[in-house]
Amino acid sequence: MPAKNSKLARPTPARLKEEILKKYPPKVARKRAKQILINEALENDTPEITANVRTIPGIITMRGCTYAGCKGVIMGPTRDIVNITHGPIGCGFYSWLTRRNQTDASAPDAHNYMTYCFSTDMQDKDIIFGGEKKLEQAIQEAYDLFHPKGIAIFATCPVGLIGDDIHAVAAKMKRKLGDCNVFAFSCEGYKGVSQSAGHHIANNQVFRHLVGQNDEPKPGEYKISLLGEYNIGGDGFEIDRILKKCGITNIATFSGNSSYDQFASAHTADLNAVMCHRSINYVADMLEIKFGIPWVKVNFIGAEATSKSLRKIAQYFGERKLIDRVEEVIAEELPPVKAVAEEVRPRTEGKTAMLFVGGSRAHHYQELFKELGMQTISAGYEFAHRDDYEGRHVLPNLQVDADSRNIEEIEVHPDESRHNPRKSEAEMTELTEAGLKFKEYDGMIPDMNPGAMVIDDLNQYEAEKMVEMLKPDIFCAGIKEKFSIQKLGIPMKQLHSYDSGGPYAGFRGAVNFYHEIDRLVNSRVWGYMKAPWQENPELSATYVWE
């Protein structure tokens, strides 16, 4: 184990912040100062952070683009829609199989296009003369080859600029093909300030073109949809296993392991359970307004959090049968998980973690670290908004800047024939009074220790500084950050893709995570960095050949 005694000399958060900012040009420093927050107890208030603002040019950011959020994150995990990237080849190529969202396409005749990359591969003449004809032809070729239920079109940066009307092409081809739903996403990478805008654009179109297409009731009791779960490393499979065991029916997951039909029936669920608040809370709102389905925030990351979330769902449905079944499942599943935590804990207790990912994982995973007795000393999101940090109560006061104003907000009204409040107002009040919180999320900051540093859109330079000065035992972020951190001798866990591991959700996932963290923070590897002659360079005696 490398010596960690330098921890005693940890600088104060204020010093650290100052240290980080001093290298920046003044304008950059002023901007970053508002995105770096020291968690201090304020009188009945959560400290305010700036988030969801432009990335600073030249500052090596973790963020990706709107297209990545739309095509990669939200639509990527749906197996039976043909996703055609309309643009030059790169964008489609890089989003081809590079996220670890698993899918189960084992049913006979199941369509699975996730292993394919489809692109119009625009050439210079398409840029000059427009690419609509080519897009039309590409849709036709995809249809002729595969006859899918749906074809989705994704715009990349140049498409917006040259003015191709992808929605008109989609509508025309939908009419022409007749039995194939064709729809498009204006997810050019320059829109918004991060992937987050892409989630929004994707979800809007899913809501518009897919949700509500099939009114036929699905069999099963206690119907929910799971919103904002992407089945990375098989998380969704584990959650589904648990739900099934409890007797809860999952109508649709947005969008891990999803298929066209799931979205089409999503409006028949009776409750929406929101995992990743950032990427999808607005869909939950829209489903409530249009169809009358209430939503609650859940979290299946962490064994305790999983139990809590199951109880929430049971409480909502309010039937003894379900409540008892959920307790039985927890009673059966939790003890073995706890046993593993107990076994691992002596080796992880007191260690420290930093988490910089996504829109919700940097919050959710703090649970799992807590279960290992580890402390999260700094965390932040890559593309979240203020409500994900401070809680939804800030929503009414959120300032919408020019970048976000361009991202469409769909106005939704109650569906004339299908709006059906799942609970009466009285029932909702009763449930609320009994402690079930609807439409509520308090964000990451209230769960963090005083003095912890919360940093939005952390960049490579800041990450290096933080690691150097606070020497955490583990750092969590994405692939781009992985090796610069590990070069410093600190184990790094990818929490977008989980490196090669997973699932980490639910009960079995928690066990996997405990073992994984144990492996990482207690690995022998980090002790090999210095050669014997570097540790003891002096030549104290001549070598004796014996």
């Binding site: 290298k23 920046y24 040009p25 950059v28 990335t55 040019p57 030249g58 500052i59 090596i60 950011t61 683009c65 990545a68 030059p88 080849i89 790169g90 964008c91 489609g92 190529f93 890089y94 081809w96 699975n112 296009y113 292993t115 394919y116 990359c117 489809f118 119009t120 591969d121 050439q123 210079d124 840029i127 032809q137 590409a138 036709q140 070729e141 995809a142 002729d144 080859l145 595969f146 990349t156 940066c157 140049p158 600029l161 990478g189 320059y190 918004g192 490579q460 330079y461 290096e464 692939i479 781009k480 090796f483 610069s484 590990q486 070069k487 410093l488 001798g489 090999y528 960095m529 210095k530």
Partner: protein
């Protein structure tokens, strides 16, 4: 089946590319720029491209890949990216302190029409480029060519640094093409053995196969220095390895700096390495040392020892033109039959070269290079005429699994195996490694498939 929708019958596609055998220009420019000492690549466009390129290179090398982006927003896309680039240059030199910033464009900034030389010039005049530091650039529109073109364009950007000082430096410029850091190291080693002083650019060895030592060096030792690039204008000659990746830069030096050039194939396999060594010795006027001849003999030895396992085995290949040309020649030279070959990189000469190299084979050879020469087509060819072996990047593992054909990972990107960073496939030593990989794949398969009666210890 993971590629269950791929039909055997081939219908011509005009608009839809499926499972491309190429990617876009900027990633090539980024990779090349990492082979300059102290260089921070910069992607002038919106941030997604840069995130994708960094991720892809990181996954391939398992090393940190630092690069800046102009992070265009909608405003920049309408009004042009000058302000973003100026700010980015300032921020990068202030925060990361590189020696060089290497700017490349993306589809977005190209479509807008941002004028890089003009913006960089302005950055200089505005004092945003510190004294003694440099900004080089390349235009890399992805709607032209492929990642290979982008690599070539950035290498040409490096060649623009060359100065002619009047007297020759006695060195040979070697432009290695898009090969791995280990390959660049091997080229330097060979030149060293032969006793030729070379200026190798780009040179990613030491940068993308670095050690773990508890220190993060954003700019590791290694890479061609600006001093060396400047002096490349005084070299006695340039050897460009690969028409697609290296020839443009070499011709530029020829025209602008009067440094004569020769374009050779990448030294992969026996014959291409022979030509490379021979060219080096002739340019420098030295004789080839016994050590190199010895290495050559070892390669010939392995070919003859194991020839029965190569003989008439059919192979399908996907990859980049320079590499595939050299590989095809190598495979034919050991009596293997490369019968399906695709490269997404356009260039008519490719098909011509491959046809020439395979002219003597008694079987039909399918070869295609262009935007619709993709892995979907390759898979269809394989369904029509199965092969014994696949060679190409990690994406081929899906065809490999579905069709139950062994795969040798070689090319870019390799996302699921290691070794390419550390073990060369160029030169005679590299030839040995390539053959070892091919043999292991073929023999493992034979061991798996042989009956109990036929299963044998000695092979």
């Amino acid at each position: 089946m993971l590629l269950r929708h791929t039909p055997k019958e081939i219908n011509e596609r005009r608009a839809l590319t499926i499972n491309p055998a190429k990617t876009c220009q900027p990633i090539g420019a980024m990779y090349a720029a990492l082979g300059v000492h102290g260089c921070l690549p910069h992607s002038h466009g919106s941030q997604g491209c840069c995130a994708y390129h960094r991720s892809a290179l990181t996954r391939h090398y398992k090393e940190p890949i630092s690069a800046g982006t102009s992070s265009f927003t909608e405003g920049a896309s309408v009004f042009g990216g000058q302000a973003n680039l100026l700010q980015a240059i300032d921020n990068m030199f202030t925060v990361y302190e590189p020696e060089v910033v290497a700017v490349h464009t993306t589809c977005l900034s190209e479509t807008i029409g941002d004028d890089l030389p003009q913006i960089i010039d302005k950055a200089g005049k505005d004092g945003k480029i510190p004294a003694g530091k440099h900004v080089i650039y390349a235009n890399t529109p992805s709607y032209v060519g492929s990642h290979v073109t982008g690599f070539s364009n950035m290498v040409k950007g490096m060649a623009r640094m060359a100065e002619s000082g009047g007297h020759k430096n006695g060195k040979v410029n070697v432009i290695p093409g898009w090969v791995e850091p280990a390959d660049m190291e091997e080229i330097k080693r060979l030149a060293g053995l032969i006793g030729v002083g070379i200026i190798l650019f780009p040179d990613t060895s030491g940068i993308l196969n670095g050690p773990l030592s508890g220190e993060f060096k954003m700019f590791p030792e290694g890479g061609v220095t600006i001093e060396q690039l400047k002096s490349a204008g005084d070299s006695i000659g340039t050897l460009a390895l690969g028409e697609w990746c290296s020839a443009d830069a070499a011709r530029y030096l020829d025209t602008n700096n009067k440094v004569p050039c020769r374009v050779l194939d990448i030294p992969i396999g026996l014959k291409a390495t022979d030509r490379f060594v021979d060219a080096l010795r002739i340019i420098a006027g030295v004789s080839v040392p016994e050590e190199v001849t010895h290495e050559r003999g070892q390669l010939v030895d392995m070919i003859s020892d194991m020839h029965q396992y190569f003989y008439h085995k059919t192979v399908a290949l996907a990859g980049d033109p320079d590499q595939l040309i050299a590989l095809t020649e190598f495979l034919v030279s050991i009596d293997m039959w490369p019968i399906h070959i695709v490269s997404g990189t356009p260039g008519k000469a490719f098909v011509g070269r491959i046809k020439e190299l395979t002219a003597d084979l008694p079987c039909q050879v399918n070869v295609k290079s262009d935007r619709n020469a993709d892995m979907f087509l390759l898979h269809q060819w394989i369904k029509q005429q199965p092969v014994d072996l696949l060679i190409g990047n990690s994406y081929l593992k899906y065809i490999s699994r579905d069709e139950d054909i062994p795969l040798v990972r070689w090319g870019f990107p390799i996302l699921d195996r290691v070794g390419h960073q550390y073990f060369p496939t160029v030169g005679y030593k590299g030839g040995l490694r390539l053959l070892e990989k091919i043999l292991t794949a073929i023999l493992d398969r034979k061991d798996r498939d042989d009956t109990e009666q036929a299963f044998e210890l000695v092979m």
